[in-house]
Symmetry: C2
Subunit: 134 residues, 2 copies
DNA sequence: ATACAACTTGAAGTTAACTTTAATTCAAGC
DNA sequence: GCTTGAATTAAAGTTAACTTCAAGTTGTAT
C-alpha cells in the first residue's frame, strides 16, 4: 500500500511542510518520487513517523531521534549507544515530569486562591489572604 | 536586605544575562540602579523570581507570566482573567504530562528491548524479536 | 489546449528564550 | 593617577523546529 503526502499529513496531523522537512533533515528516508516528482510513502514511513511521534512525546530532540534511527541500522554494533541514549533520556523525562508536577501544584494553588477571590467578590465579603491559605 | 545581580544569579542558578533579560521584557520591575549604575534587588524580586520559576515549571510562556503579574496588580478587576489563564494552563500541563508518560513508556520499552539485545550478544544467543515482546 | 489544483523546490522568515559581543562605566586597591 | 574587575548597554547572534514564500511542475477536467 502506498500513500501521498496529504494522506500522511492527515494521518499524523502534521502539515505536509513538516513531513518534507523531516525528509530534508534525514528523519524520513528512501522516499520515492513518482515520475521523479510527487512523493510516495509506504508502511515503512508510517512506522517511522509513529516512532518519531513517540520520541517527540518523550521530548527527544529531532537530532537525537535521527541518531537513534542511524544506530538502529546496526543494532549489534550500537546497542550500547542506544541503551545509553534511552537511559539518559529516561532520566530527563522523569525530571521534566517532576518539574511539571511541581508547576501543576503551583497552578492549582493559584486556582484555589482565585476561586476564593471570586466567591468573596460575589458575596461582598473580605478577600482571602494568600498567606492564610499557604 | 538587598542583593546584587551576582547573588540572585547564584540563588536561582540563572545567568546574570537572563536576569537582565527578564527585566528588559518587563518580568522584573522596579529594579533600582545604585548611583544610576549597578542593579540592586530586594525581597520583592526574590519573590517574583520564585514565582517565575514555578510558572516556568508549569510551562507557561514568559509572555503569559508577565500578563499574570500585570493582572495581579488589580486582582479585583482581573480575577476572572487570571482564573481563566490558570485553568487553561492547568489543562495544557495535564496534556503534556500525559504525553510525557506515553513517551516514557515508549522509552522504557526500548530500554527493555535493548537490554535483552545486550544480554543476547553477551551470551552469544539469538537476538530477541521486538514483535515477540510487544 | 488550457486551466486548475495539488505538489514541488530552495531559500528566507518566524518564534521563544536566551546568549554573546564590544564598547563603556564605575569603585576600589595599589 | 592607574589598573583591575565586576557591571553596564544596545545590538546582534543562536538554537530548534518549523513555516512561508515565490516560482515552477504535473495530471486531470473542461
Amino acid at each position: 500500500m502506498s500513500y501521498t503526502i496529504t494522506e500522511l499529513s492527515k494521518m499524523f496531523h502534521l502539515p505536509a511542510s513538516t513531513i518534507r522537512y523531516y525528509e530534508k533533515i534525514g528523519l524520513l528516508e528512501n522516499v520515492e518520487h513518482v515520475n521523479s516528482y510527487r512523493r510516495v510513502y509506504d508502511q515503512s514511513h508510517i512506522d517511522r513517523l509513529n516512532a518519531i511521534e513517540c520520541f517527540k512525546k518523550a521530548l527527544l530532540p529531532l537530532a537525537e531521534i535521527k541518531a537513534f534511527f542511524t544506530y538502529e541500522k546496526d543494532m549489534v554494533a550500537n546497542y550500547e549507544k542506544i541503551l545509553d541514549m534511552m537511559k539518559t533520556q529516561e532520566e530527563k523525562t522523569l525530571e521534566t515530569m517532576a518539574d511539571l508536577e511541581a508547576g501543576l501544584t503551583h497552578l492549582q494553588k493559584k486556582i484555589r486562591y482565585y476561586s476564593l477571590v471570586n466567591e468573596a467578590i460575589k458575596n461582598d465579603s473580605p478577600l482571602p489572604n494568600w498567606n492564610d491559605l499557604y
